[in-house]
Structures are given as structure tokens and as C-alpha cells.
């Protein structure tokens, strides 16, 4: 058995891969915990890629059959409730971990030179994961999905100039209907996962090329103490930690899936007016809440348009932070950008909580 493994490893070049992994060193300091987020994200994506196709065997992507097929998955398909719930919870936890990864990178300024493109690919990943979450949320095509589609597709509709086209493209027509479901299904199972896999590939490759970033504060601290930052090899040290994290994550996902399985709202009634207080899924609650606070008209501009423009500009600014944070680029402390990072995190959390309540 051992010889067989050795023989195979020689033929597939496992030795050189392991040797390379052992040469890859990971810095050890008080912010090391943030290095584990990437591995956790990959594991959650793996869960998605396993449970997603299993659901695809039973899901019927048409307006008149989608709702019934989700019911069948829940009731008739063996372990269908579990697979759907694991898919649902792993996607939600994935979004949480993506946000943690994003804010930790922003606050510890891991975007510093030469990692600007890694940061941009990370931002793109965040967008793709959010759209994947949203497009999956509407696939049961129940009442909640219908109103979420109406509200959600209205938001890009408020974008000046291209808004109307964007809204019609997403809806597949002037209103939410059968075509909308087909479009979101195609995006959820085809376009978005493919794009995400490509972006993740580039992101992981760049992380491997540049190695892990050490926060400026840690570098300064070690310089002051005239000490060198300790390093440990990626394999086996980081790998085993990743395995432990993934096992615990699996337990958490399955526990949530068993104790709080995914539900289903009543069937769509196209004639029914939208009830008061229709809310998007939790990861868009912060946008919803901010837009809700903005008055109907601001400086003569429609409030919603004003909000979308301001939020887009803020997102654009965050995306280009590596190119404006000059101090960090020179390996100097930049408290202003730490403040911006912390404020962004507080705004996100507070608005999400208020939006939920």
C-alpha cells in the first residue's frame, strides 16, 4: 500500500508539489487568524459545488414548476431537505466569511503593494458571491422570491442612463415573470459559478505568488523589538489548521441545516399587492436600510437614484483604496484608512441589524 502511494506520487509529481508547499512559509503573529478565511471559503464553495448539482437533478427551472419542484425536494426526495438546507446555510456562511475576509483585509491593509490586483479580484469575488446568493434566494419562486425579485431588480433600475436596460435585462421583460426566473437560473448555475471559479483561480494564484501579507503594525512592532517575524511552513502547519477549521465548519453548517432547515413561503399570487415591509435577503439589508433613510428628494435628485450613486461611489472608492492609501504603500501606518475600514464595518453591521429589526 505504502509503495503504491510512493509510486503514484512519483508519477504525478506529488513530491515536488509537497516540497513546494513546504518551502511556502506563513508568518505567525496576532493577525494569523485572518489567513484561515481563504481556506474556509474554498471549503464552503466546495460544499456549494457538491450540493448544487444534487439539487439540480430535481429542480425544474420554469415558472409553473419551480415552486412545486422545491416542495418535492423538501418532501419526496430522500435527504432533499438536508441537501437544500446545507446548500442554503453554506451559502449564507460563505457570504459571512467573504465579508469577514473583506473587512479583515481592508483593516489590516493586506492590499498593499504588490497585492493591489489580488484585492481587486477579491472585490470581484465579493460581488459575485453576493449575486450568487441573491440569484439562489429567488429560485424557489415563492411569494418571498417574487417580491425580492421586484425589489431587487428595481435597484439597478435606479442607476442613471443604463438603469432601465439593466432592469429589463435582469427581468427578461418589463415586469417580473417566467423569463426572470430563467435568467436568474442561468446566472445562478452557469455564468456566476464559472466566473467565480475563474476569479478564485486568479486570486489564489496571486496569493501564492505574493505570499501572505504581514500588517504594517506587526512589522513595526517586530522592528522595535529587533526581532524577526516567525514563519511556519504552509504544509503541514497551515494545511492541518485548515482541515480542522473545515471540519468544524461542516459541523456548524449541518447543525444549522438540521435545526433550522430552509423553509418555503406560499405560492406566488401575481395579483396580490406587495405586503408592507418587504425586505431583501440579509446580505443586502444594509443597502436597503441606507436607501430607506434617504429622503424622497435630495438636492432635487430622486432619493433612490441619489442613494445608488453615493453607494456606488463608496464601493468604487473602497475598490481603489490600494491606489490612494499612499502611506500603506510606503509601509507606514495610515490611521485614516484604518478608520475608514472600521467605519465601513460599523455601518455595514449596524445597518444590517437595523434593517433586520
Amino acid at each position: 500500500m505504502i509503495n503504491v502511494i510512493d509510486e503514484i506520487s512519483q508519477r504525478i509529481g506529488l513530491g515536488s508539489i509537497l516540497s513546494l508547499a513546504r518551502k511556502k512559509m506563513v508568518p505567525q503573529h496576532r493577525h494569523t487568524i485572518w489567513y484561515y478565511m481563504g481556506g474556509m471559503l474554498l471549503f464552503l464553495l466546495l460544499i456549494q459545488l457538491v450540493t448544487g448539482p444534487l439539487l439540480l437533478f430535481f429542480y425544474k427551472p420554469s415558472a409553473d414548476a419551480a415552486y412545486q419542484s422545491v416542495k418535492e425536494i423538501m418532501v419526496n426526495v430522500p435527504y432533499g431537505w438536508l441537501i437544500r438546507s446545507v446548500h442554503h446555510w453554506s451559502s449564507n456562511i460563505m457570504i459571512v466569511v467573504v465579508f469577514v475576509h473583506f473587512f479583515s483585509t481592508l483593516i489590516v491593509k493586506a492590499y498593499r503593494k504588490p497585492r493591489e490586483i489580488t484585492w481587486l479580484t477579491g472585490m470581484l469575488m465579493l460581488l459575485l458571491v453576493l449575486f450568487l446568493g441573491y440569484s439562489g434566494y429567488v429560485l424557489p419562486f415563492d411569494e418571498r422570491a417574487f417580491f425580492a425579485l421586484n425589489v431587487g431588480t428595481e435597484i439597478p433600475g435606479a442607476i442613471p442612463v443604463v438603469g432601465e436596460y439593466a432592469m429589463e435585462f435582469l427581468r427578461g421583460g418589463a415586469t417580473v415573470g417566467a423569463h426572470t426566473l430563467n435568467r436568474f437560473f442561468a446566472m445562478h448555475v452557469g455564468i456566476l459559478p464559472l466566473a467565480l471559479l475563474i476569479v478564485i483561480g486568479v486570486h489564489v494564484l496571486l496569493v501564492q505568488l505574493h505570499g501572505m501579507s504581514v500588517p504594517v503594525s506587526v512589522e513595526k512592532e517586530m522592528e522595535k523589538k529587533k526581532k524577526k517575524i516567525p514563519y511556519k511552513p504552509m504544509f503541514p502547519h497551515l494545511l492541518w489548521h485548515d482541515v480542522v477549521n473545515c471540519l468544524i465548519l461542516l459541523g456548524v453548517v449541518v447543525t444549522l441545516a438540521v435545526l433550522m432547515p430552509s423553509g418555503l413561503d406560499p405560492d406566488i399570487d401575481f395579483l396580490k399587492p406587495a405586503p408592507d415591509g418587504v425586505k431583501p435577503d440579509w446580505f443586502f439589508l444594509w443597502v436597503y436600510q441606507i436607501l430607506k433613510w434617504i429622503p424622497t428628494y435630495v438636492m432635487g435628485i430622486e432619493g433612490e437614484i441619489f442613494g445608488i450613486v453615493v453607494l456606488s461611489m463608496a464601493a468604487g472608492f473602497i475598490a481603489f483604496v490600494p491606489f490612494v492609501d499612499w502611506k500603506s504603500q510606503k509601509n507606514e501606518l495610515s490611521p485614516i484608512f484604518t478608520f475608514i475600514g472600521v467605519i465601513s464595518l460599523i455601518v455595514f453591521v449596524v445597518c444590517t441589524v437595523i434593517g433586520y429589526l
Binding site: 500500500m1 505504502i2 502511494i5 510512493d6 506520487s9 506529488l14 513530491g15 509537497l18 516540497s19 513546504r22 518551502k23 412545486q68 416542495k71 418535492e72 423538501m74 418532501v75 419526496n76 430522500p78 431537505w81 511556519k232 511552513p233 503541514p236 502547519h237 492541518w240 489548521h241 482541515v243 480542522v244 471540519l247 468544524i248 461542516l250 459541523g251 449541518v254 447543525t255 438540521v258 435545526l259 432547515p261 430552509s262 423553509g263 418555503l264 406560499p266
Partner: protein, 112 residues
């Protein structure tokens, strides 16, 4: 000892896999979990007549029943966590062993 300390790796996953299988089958057998799903054949010809009411509509209450946290699901959850705890313990053993090998310079010798 193999060149890349693979035996430990293989042992770890063999034990884990074995434990997982044994636990699943034991729990399944004890609770009748495995016998719930009987092998069935698909009907080759669908005969329709005037009395055929079409596919039975699944109600929301049936969906909610399927979501109920039954005792068997809790048992399954406990079994899963038992496996996870065991796996974490084994992985930690392997990690400590690998770190010892690393400190002894085993890997650096290996790379030369």
C-alpha cells in the same frame, strides 16, 4: 517511514473513513434509517384515464412536517459531531507529529 510521511496521512484518513462508515451503518441499522428507502422501479408506461387526478399537490404543511427536527435527526447530528471531534483529535496528532518532524529538520533534509 516513507519519503513524504504519507503513511501517517493515509492512516489518519483510513481510520476516519472506517469510523465514519461504521457509525453511519450502526446508527442507520439501530434506528431503521437504512430501511426507510426501499428499492423501487420506475413505471415504464403511464396509463391515464378520466379518473386520473394528475400529480398530487404537496401542501405547505407537508413541507413544514419535512422540516421538523425529529429524534433521528438529532441522533445523526450527535454522530456527526462525534466523528468531527475524533477527526479533529486525529488531525491534531498528525499536526504535532509533522511539526516535530519539521523541527527535527526532517523536511529540510527531504528537500535537499
Amino acid at each position: 517511514m516513507s519519503r513524504f510521511n504519507i503513511p501517517g496521512f493515509i492512516k489518519l484518513f483510513s481510520v476516519t473513513f472506517l469510523f465514519l462508515m461504521v457509525s453511519f451503518i450502526t446508527i442507520g441499522t439501530l434506528t431503521g434509517f437504512c430501511t426507510e428507502q426501499e428499492i423501487s422501479t420506475l413505471e415504464a408506461v403511464e396509463v391515464k384515464d378520466d379518473t386520473d387526478e394528475g400529480p398530487v399537490e404537496i401542501t405547505l404543511s407537508e413541507v413544514n412536517n419535512a422540516r421538523e427536527v425529529s429524534r433521528i435527526r438529532v441522533y445523526g447530528l450527535i454522530a456527526l459531531w462525534a466523528i468531527i471531534v475524533l477527526c479533529v483529535y486525529l488531525v491534531n496528532l498528525q499536526r504535532k507529529d509533522d511539526e516535530r518532524l519539521y523541527q527535527d529538520g526532517y523536511y529540510s533534509k527531504d528537500d535537499e
